[in-house]
């Protein structure tokens, strides 16, 4: 299944091995049948943890139950999830370049007008909307991930024109990337001291703390997603420049 990892496009779309085709059709069918049977056999009275969450929502500091689950009840999961993101960023980041600044602007002679207009008009709106999403996360659907994703989208748009370059390996970028994790861990462990247990928010400050964590998370997620995107672009560029070098020689 994973032995032949074809990269080129010239192969057939599916493995021609009839055996695996037939077997998988059969088993997929079986799987479907079995799981559908489960779904159908369910009596539907199970409400999961919904009542419990509704009971405790008052104590969580936010009113949106999903945010409450994410950042209070199951904050530990979220913390580790940020770590997952960081792992991938780490794995993907190019080898470090210390000298380039975090952010720089390059004057490009030939501009794509449509792109420029889009950048000019949409980006600020997206940023504001992201800020709203972040804020609104406390009481209705929204939150750090949504905001971060939006911001990352905006940055993709920004970097489309090669006008702006971010050095994701600069000190600044690194600090921003780990910011959410650091804040999360710091708050979490500090709360052991104050409240006696990990990530136990004091009732009075819980909303504030969650907002703080969410804000930091937004920054880190934005940067992480942007860096993931840029890594593909960068590697394309590198190969292109390599190609050029080679042709010159």
């Amino acid at each position: 299944m994973f032995n032949k990892l074809d990269i080129e496009y010239d192969g057939p779309a599916v493995d021609k091995s009839a055996l695996s085709l037939i077997a998988s059709v059969l088993v997929v069918g079986l799987l479907l049948a079995v799981t559908i049977k489960i779904v159908l056999s369910d009596k539907g009275h199970n409400t999961g943890l919904a009542p419990l969450i509704t009971q405790n929502i008052e104590l969580s500091g936010v009113t949106n139950p999903i945010t409450a689950v994410l950042l209070n009840f199951r904050a530990y999961d979220t913390l580790l999830e940020i770590a997952v993101l960081l792992v991938v960023v780490l794995a993907i980041l190019p080898t470090r370049d210390h000298h380039a600044p975090f952010f720089k602007r390059i004057e490009v002679s030939k501009q794509n007008l449509v792109l420029l207009a889009l950048q000019r008009w949409i980006t600020p709106a997206v940023v504001i909307f992201a800020g709203y999403l972040l804020w609104a996360g406390a009481h209705q659907p929204g939150g750090a991930f949504q905001a971060g994703a939006l911001l990352a989208g905006a940055s993709v748009l920004m970097f489309q024109s090669d006008t702006y370059q971010v050095n994701y390996t600069s000190f600044m970028a690194r600090v921003l990337l780990v910011l959410s994790l650091v804040v999360f861990i710091t708050i979490g462990t500090a709360l052991i001291w104050f409240e006696g247990s990990l990530l136990t928010y004091p009732l009075a400050f819980s909303g504030l703390l969650i907002l703080l964590i969410e804000t930091c998370a937004t920054v880190s997620i934005t940067l992480a997603l942007a860096s993931l995107y840029s890594s593909f672009i960068a590697s394309e560029n590198i190969s292109v420049t390599d190609h050029k070098h080679r042709t010159i020689k």
């Binding site: 369910d42 405790n56 770590a83 997952v84 792992v87 780490l90």
Partner: protein, 509 residues
């Protein structure tokens, strides 16, 4: 907080490596890099030792719980430790300390690896924290997150070498890991649907012989088998383990596959014990048995040293899977008690130490030789006697010869097989040991043989492989320590069994 309890230290064990990862990421390339990492690993080790000691001191019949966020089980996430997980934590702490020491040399400028070290250290610490978090998690979904941390960071570490083979192996490893995790996630969804909770203990309380539970068990089993690399699903393991940098290979073989195994054991025996069947356990055993034979055979035929060791992992995992058919199966429930579980626990520990030692020694030999070809190892025993010795000791443990941890493990396994009257597993185990001896001594006899052309003529020294670098003494010492631990574990098994006993008796969650 008037007295220190082992459970209070649990968050620290997870967060300390995370902190280390962050610091390693931020400070980057630094002269103190090695020292900082070593001191982190030392702190973590001491922490784990303290936890273990406290845990043993408490002598509770119950497993220890830590409630995160003050919410409690169904709503929040709990951390939980029992004997088995404490043992796994201790093992992780120990191996982390030793392999960190090793890596500090391995990724030093001496071997032109400082570029890699930038990526290595943070990923390394993430991997460790993932492992630690996994071993103490009491929440099904949290386990999924931990599995992902482990899977992603492990794949990234495999890719560290940067050559095509390594990248391809990493990609395959990653995809397999993701697929396995998805199966697991699907099972979690089904479990949540029928039980309304994600806490393992609460699931266990309501688990029954019902259809959804069985399907969940099937999905968990297949998903985790994929990650564990049980015999027919092992295809990704040898290239991944063989192409990774040496310390990574060591931790992958020693702990990472064991993490998935740990989860599988937990689900199979504790959480969904009601839903398992005797036939399925026999299937797992049969696959394990075939894996023993097949893995050993492939190891024997391997031409690359690390590939040999990787195949040996496939074989060794097969031994552990004999746990499933051999454990007591009564009243439709199999339980993680008795000598089968002891054997499995001991096998996990023994294999972790021995395999780590073997990979490290092999890494040293490859450094000294400049080449991973087994055929090139001729006469290496003269130049690198200690590393060959370590390799031999580790191999002895893998074969299961006394005095080594592997012997105890095999002894327990054989005892169980006889006690349960399933003598056919005896034949498998014995044959596996003999095949193991074949591949081990294939290497050793090459190492001992002196090629007169190389050894005697003075000019030969200049024609020695150019890429070979003298192996630093730290790296050799670390491997030796691991090998000695393996030996020491063969002298008194009660120590390890005592730690894990609490769970095997109580069957807590």
């Amino acid at each position: 907080m008037n007295y220190l309890s082992s459970s209070l230290l649990l968050p620290a064990i997870v967060f300390l490596p995370l902190l280390a990862a962050i610091i390693a990421f931020i400070i980057g390339r630094n002269r103190l890099q090695g020292l900082i990492n070593i001191s982190f690993s030392l702190t973590q080790f001491l922490l784990v030792v303290l936890t273990t000691l406290l845990f043993l001191d408490e002598q509770t019949d119950q497993s220890e719980r830590y409630v995160i966020g003050g919410w409690g089980a169904p709503l929040g996430i709990d951390l939980i430790v029992d004997g088995f997980s404490i043992l796994m934590l201790a093992l992780t702490g120990l191996l982390t300390l030793l392999i960190t020491l090793y890596s500090a040399s391995y990724f030093s400028d001496k071997y032109n690896a400082s570029e890699k070290s930038l990526r290595f250290w943070p990923l390394w610490w993430f991997l460790i924290s993932g492992l630690n978090a996994l071993f103490m998690s009491a929440d099904a979904f949290n386990i999924y997150v931990c599995l992902e941390i482990i899977g992603l960071s492990a794949a990234a570490l495999v890719a560290l070498q940067g050559n095509r083979a390594a990248l391809q192996a990493a990609l395959r490893y990653l995809l397999v890991g993701l697929l396995g995790s998805l199966f697991y996630l699907f099972a979690i969804a089904i479990l949540y649907r029928s039980h309304g909770t994600l806490d393992l203990m609460q699931i266990a309380e309501t688990a029954s012989h019902s259809f959804p539970d069985k399907v969940a068990m099937i999905l968990i089993t297949i998903g985790l088998l994929l990650k564990i690399a049980l015999f027919p699903l092992h295809f990704w393991l040898p290239p991944a383990h063989a192409n990774a940098p040496t310390p990574v290979s060591a931790i992958l073989s020693a702990l990472v596959v064991k993490a998935s195994l740990y989860i599988l054991i937990k689900f199979w025996f504790d959480v969904l014990g009601e839903a398992t069947t005797f036939g399925a356990s026999q299937v797992l055993g049969a696959l394990g048995g075939t894996g023993i034979i097949y893995g050993s055979w492939c190891a024997f035929r391997a031409t690359q040293l690390k590939l040999l060791i990787a195949y040996s992992t496939v074989a060794q995992l097969g031994y552990i899977f004999l746990l499933f058919p051999l454990s007591e199966y009564s009243m439709g429930v199999s339980s993680f008690t008795g000598s089968a579980s002891q054997a499995a626990v001991y096998f996990i520990v023994a294999h972790a130490c021995a395999k780590a030692a073997m990979f490290l020694a092999a890494g040293n030999l490859i450094l000294a030789q400049g080449n991973g070809e087994i055929a090139k190892l001729k006469g290496i025993a003269v130049r690198e006697p200690l590393n060959v010795l370590v390799f031999a000791i580790a191999g002895i443990s893998l074969i299961g010869l006394p005095p080594s941890a592997g012997f105890i493990a095999k002894w327990l396994l054989l005892t169980t097989a006889f006690e349960s009257g399933q003598w056919w597993w005896v034949i498998v185990v014995i044959t596996g040991g003999l095949l193991g001896a074949m591949y081990l001594f294939k290497v050793l006899s090459l190492a001992f043989s002196t090629d007169p052309a190389v050894v005697e003529s003075p000019t030969a020294k200049s024609t020695a492989p150019v890429s070979s670098v003298p192996v630093s003494s730290v790296m050799t010492t670390v491997a030796l320590i691991l090998a000695l631990i393996t030996l020491a574990l063969g002298l008194n098994a009660e120590f390890i069994l005592n730690i894990s006993n609490t769970v095997t008796e109580v069957n807590g969650i």
